[in-house]
């Protein structure tokens, strides 16, 4: 039977933004997988915050044991956190495999099936990267591992969005998004900046040099931190003698300073985006709700960032900073996805967003043939 690609979106008659079937348990499972992924990011954050990522020197075994048979009695010290990270990661891998299979079985949208398999490949790659970081002893792999974790979380979160009842029934004709071109640019730009910010954060955390600037809101008592050789020598002497920290570099100080500047740019971007969204689409509960949550998250994130410095990088605070950072990225990503789809629908090319391959019979049934 001949098949036609029909992209169900605003301009399609009956333009319910999905006409995709809604599978409540699939949606719940996707959201659950995203939730466990956030837990995994948190446990990974604890491992890095406590500096115990290499407490288990072998992989995929754990001190020679099959990792699933490693005795609980031996989970002491840093091994407890690192081995827990591996177990939760295995759980996420299993959940993702089930999710991909479930989508392939139940969801008729080809791009959704692809997303499911991409998520599965990403979780496998993520596991291998985590293992290689341990056996190759490369901090750089740790940075990629941390960034891919954020990307994977967004991907699973997006699958959660695409499987909601709201997504399958939402109609842009009934609920048009006003000014979505401008809003898309704003939200997407801010979200990209958040992701860059997370890369900066991962770079600082995985170089294990501790806080390169240990005061806030000033930096070594100044607006711009000193980075000359003499100041650096003095700073390092104090770090080694009094703060139990390794020596830092001018690059590390600059990195943390850029992280601070970027934080305020992001705050401005998020507040501006939210204000514009609420002003132009205040009656849209999803957009309004996501915007308010986004502002709340970025505000909490800045408080946590400052607290990370004030507590000399206490493991729980630093880990909360990582987790809230992930949620901030997710909120921005979901908003951006909705706005990008809105723009795509207006340009008549929502192919990658909501395309669905229907048989001729299905198209006729939907009243779209000819």
């Amino acid at each position: 039977m001949a098949r036609y690609k029909v992209f169900v979106f605003a301009e399609v008659s009956n333009s319910e933004m999905g006409s995709a079937e809604y599978h409540p348990w699939l949606n719940r499972f996707a959201v659950f997988t995203a939730g466990v992924t956030l837990v995994l990011i948190g446990v990974g954050g604890v491992v890095t915050s406590k500096g115990v990522g290499l407490a288990v020197p072998d992989w995929p075994t754990t001190y020679g044991y099959n990792m699933f048979l490693f005795p609980f009695s031996k989970m002491v010290g840093g091994v407890f956190y690192e081995h827990s990270h591996r177990l939760v990661a295995s759980t996420v891998g299993l959940l993702t495999a089930v999710l991909a299979g479930w989508i392939a079985w139940k969801d008729r949208r080809p791009w959704m099936r692809k997303l499911g398999w991409i998520a599965f490949l990403a979780v496998v790659l993520q596991g291998v990267l985590g293992g290689l970081r341990v056996v190759w002893l490369k901090d750089e792999i740790g940075i990629v591992h941390a960034c891919l974790a954020q990307g994977f979380f967004v991907l699973v979160g997006a699958i959660g969005l695409f499987t909601t009842r709201w997504w399958s029934r939402f109609s842009l004709r009934k609920h048009p998004i006003a000014g979505c071109h401008a809003l898309r640019r704003l939200a997407l730009g801010t979200t990209i900046l958040i992701f860059i910010q997370l890369i900066l954060g991962a770079s600082m955390r995985h170089q294990h040099t501790g806080l390169s600037i240990n005061d806030f809101p000033l930096a070594y008592g100044r607006l711009i931190p000193p980075m000359d050789a003499v100041s650096l020598a003095r700073i390092n002497l104090e770090r080694i003698q009094w703060m139990d920290l390794p020596a830092t570099t001018a690059f590390q100080i600059a990195l943390q300073f850029v992280h601070r500047i970027a934080a305020f740019l992001i705050l401005a971007g998020v507040v501006w985006s939210a204000r514009r969204i609420c002003k132009t689409n205040g009656l849209n509960p999803v957009l309004r709700g996501l915007s308010v949550i986004w502002v709340g998250l970025v505000a909490a994130q800045i408080v946590l960032g400052a607290s990370t410095i004030w507590t000399n990088k206490a493991a729980d605070i630093a880990t909360a900073h990582v987790v809230v950072g992930s949620l901030t990225l997710l909120a921005g990503s979901l908003l951006s996805i909705i706005l990008v789809c809105c723009v795509a629908s207006r340009e008549g090319n929502p192919a990658w967003a909501l395309g669905i391959q229907n048989s001729e019979a299905e198209i006729q049934k939907m009243g779209m043939a000819g």
Partner: protein, 235 residues
């Protein structure tokens, strides 16, 4: 013929003795000027075995100060003055032990090519994470008491840090040199470096918290007294 043999033997003896006499040694002291900063309590609760072995509590031992301010665990070595000279590698191995969830010794020296044995004397698991920069980094698991691993450094490096990621308070520092002229100060802060050929040298003293200090010294046959290395922690 017999007379000639005696002359040769006597000559050889004199040359050998001369060489022996020509060797010098350096002795000196590392001093901490002022009060040592307070040490921090180490919480070992994360591993019941470790907590049990230190039931009365344990603190960091960054500054071990003896009478007169003598500072222990300072690695003193010849930094410059031996260029172009080579020295035999000792056949005996050096031991870095893990006892009661601490590295023993805390500071030590070893020569390039000399065997380093790393041993677990605890009834708990350790990982041995060598965070070398010039030499290959490695991370070994020693989950069973009595396990011993052997490693050899191929390049000089002062200092190589060892860390146990299972027990984040465990550190050791190893100075790797291409010569045998080093010492670690004793509890009274004293050190002696023996067997040095006469010459002018730069001595460096390294302390984990105090940083490094250097001084020039001229060594002739016999013993040379090095000026004290005075570490001044910030007050």
């Amino acid at each position: 013929m017999k007379k000639t043999g005696i002359w040769i033997a006597t000559g050889a003896l004199l040359v050998t003795s001369g060489m022996a006499f020509a060797q010098g040694s350096i002795s000196g002291k590392a001093i901490l000027q002022g009060a040592a900063p307070a040490e921090k309590a180490i919480k070992m609760d994360a591993d019941p075995y470790c907590a049990k072995t230190h039931a009365t509590g344990v603190t960091t031992k960054h500054y071990i100060v003896g009478p007169g301010g003598g500072l222990a665990n300072v690695f003193v070595y010849v930094k410059d003055g031996l260029a172009g000279k080579t020295f035999p590698v000792p056949k005996e191995a050096k031991l870095l032990d893990q006892q009661n969830c601490l590295y023993v010794p805390y500071v030590m020296g070893i020569q390039v090519g000399q065997l380093l044995q790393i041993q677990n004397d605890d009834s708990t698991l350790h990982n041995v994470h060598c965070m070398a920069k010039n030499n290959p980094e490695f991370n070994l698991g020693q989950p069973v008491k009595g396990m011993k691993s052997e490693k050899v450094f191929t390049k000089p490096e002062v200092m190589v840090q060892f860390k146990c990621d299972v027990h984040p308070w465990m550190f050791a520092y190893v100075g790797v040199l291409d010569h045998p002229f080093y010492a670690v100060t004793k509890e009274d802060g004293s050190f002696t470096i023996t067997g040095l050929p006469p010459g002018e040298y730069t001595l460096e003293a390294w302390h984990h918290k105090g940083g490094t200090l250097t001084q020039k010294i001229k060594v002739e046959a016999g013993e040379a007294k090095a000026p004290d290395f005075i570490f001044k922690p910030k007050t």
